[in-house]
Subunit: 397 residues, 2 copies
Amino acid sequence: MTAISNRCADMQASPIRKLVPLANAAKARGISVYHLNIGQPDIPTPHGYWKALKDSLPEVLAYGPSQGLPVLREAIATYYSRSGIHIDTDEIIITTGGSEAVFFAFMATCDHGDEVVCFEPFYTNYNGFAAMAGVKLVPITSRCENGFHLPEATEIEAKITDKTRAILICSPNNPTGTVLSPEELQTLSSIVRKHDLFLLSDEVYRDFVFDGGSHLSTLELPEIEDRVVVMDSISKRFSSCGARLGNMISRNKAVMDAALKLGQARLCPPTVAQYGAAWIYHHLSDNYYEGILATYQNRRDVLMEELTGLDGVFLLKPEGAFYATIQLPVKSADRFASWMLTDFQFEGETTMVAPAAGFYATPGLGLDQIRIAFVLSDRKMRKALRILKEGLKAYKD
Amino acid sequence: MTAISNRCADMQASPIRKLVPLANAAKARGISVYHLNIGQPDIPTPHGYWKALKDSLPEVLAYGPSQGLPVLREAIATYYSRSGIHIDTDEIIITTGGSEAVFFAFMATCDHGDEVVCFEPFYTNYNGFAAMAGVKLVPITSRCENGFHLPEATEIEAKITDKTRAILICSPNNPTGTVLSPEELQTLSSIVRKHDLFLLSDEVYRDFVFDGGSHLSTLELPEIEDRVVVMDSISKRFSSCGARLGNMISRNKAVMDAALKLGQARLCPPTVAQYGAAWIYHHLSDNYYEGILATYQNRRDVLMEELTGLDGVFLLKPEGAFYATIQLPVKSADRFASWMLTDFQFEGETTMVAPAAGFYATPGLGLDQIRIAFVLSDRKMRKALRILKEGLKAYKD
């Protein structure tokens, strides 16, 4: 029988989702599962989103423009202007989730066989889009011990070849919670200029920087403004993951022309959701942003309280986003995470986490690490983490 | 400055959308534009869609399953069972528009550099997805003169090389309106078995077959059930293009596993729209399907009435879908279509059509052809076609 493509046969299953069948089986046995495996916030989607959506229901649910509705592109430009960042609406294309922004960024900047340097552990779905785009991700390992900050410039430059087209970063970071400093961004700026590269910057978590810190966007680096491609999304910012709306921003006109051609192929992003998103961008006040930031910071604090100082458990305080990559005293975090779903329960409940090995490109790394998304209420977080600790106590490696 | 990828630089702009700036300029000058260029129906989206959507608004707009909501997959299986076609829900993956189904089908069956045989003129966006997937579309020309039906088997087989992985068809066809006969499908079935290929079948227009004809789905060819990949969409069937919901169907488990991995990378299709779509699939009666079919058939008849017998204009009666590819007495349909927007008006109105050359892969073909989508009311269709005829009279080649 004719076989499927090698590229799909070789694609890894999502480490975030691959244990879902085990979780479903646990639920079928009557066990409640706390989902710390996926960055799915429990925060209500702002009411205005639903109101704007209901107010905009058309008679014919038609295609929209390939680059997105003008009202949403304008709303996003306004959102950035709050941070003092000026973006023209034609430097923004609305994408179907941040996912599509990542894919478009790879496609627009790289040909098949080209390389993109990135820092592992990284958001695992980059692998999927790299496989789709035929791009080779070249990982540089960042270390738990120094809070997953960037290695020295020389170590980064050593990975650049004549096939390298871009460096890919994510700050605040999924899966580590690390926020790159202005100095680190300056280092990257020098490198991309020196080696004539693009800088692909996933800034989906830009509003989530803890402890009074601030986020420097790569859009604020004028010396590389024609090299920067930002990937963004409303999923986390506005707790609207299911809307599938993101955007790609670049001041490089050729990149935007390329993105538009890619966008025309798939016709348009979802139409009605864009009205909801435009409303949120236009109407949410500083109070909203401060409120969700405080919420996630509290959850981060719960995480630190519950897991700090445990024997064999190592994590540094996440600086932003809502993830932590945590070292556990187990040989295989994959087996442990599966076991938590198949063989363990505590008072009828268990906790699901994502094994971190799937966030590394280098085989053998991260085998004893998990990623936790702190996306549940303080009370549930505490419960979920206590169950995790009970699991660690009971688990035989 | 660093350059964008060659593959994006080489991608064609959509022939359906590339004249949009000219249309916008015409509108800015106060001219009304009839859009026969794009398959955007004017038929109202069924009310139940909006009701089901409003009834399902959740507190948190969360990610759904990567393969789509069970309620929608079940509804689609039920829809097929009306035609006597049995599909298991795990043979269906919900995609972000039929667009993504096409991309997934290419990705799952082909590696970079592989070839897919198709019949030109073909839906132009296949080019975009082929470029994204690094797949080479190998065209076989179908001819206006015989209603764009398939050429002889020997002509098809002559294009098959050791790189060929699949044959791609679309029936009822966009952009020609041609419906493949059971005999033509049998021929294709023999060829894909003989050469160990997949058959990728775009059946988006399966409900639109005119003059009492019926549609044989490739899902009804048991001898190649593990070779068939169907791409489908709710866009046209339910006038919900902006929902961005389609699906890919295959009885080949490896293909579905591949599609799920691709699906996991982009997380999920739009969540809330799926409730609306499930409602429609479950609740619309035969009356609905008969009603829209009659509507499009009337429009097709208006098209034939208005354009048959005109000097230098050639078209055969479309058998299905809602498109016709029409030969005009002009040297460059591209220039003519542009001119209709930039230099022509009739009583303050003009008509926009899609130049057909972009639907051909072979350079030099279709230069004197346009594609018309008959997606406006009879009255508007008649008006738009009369304007087109006035334009043809006034145009100097």
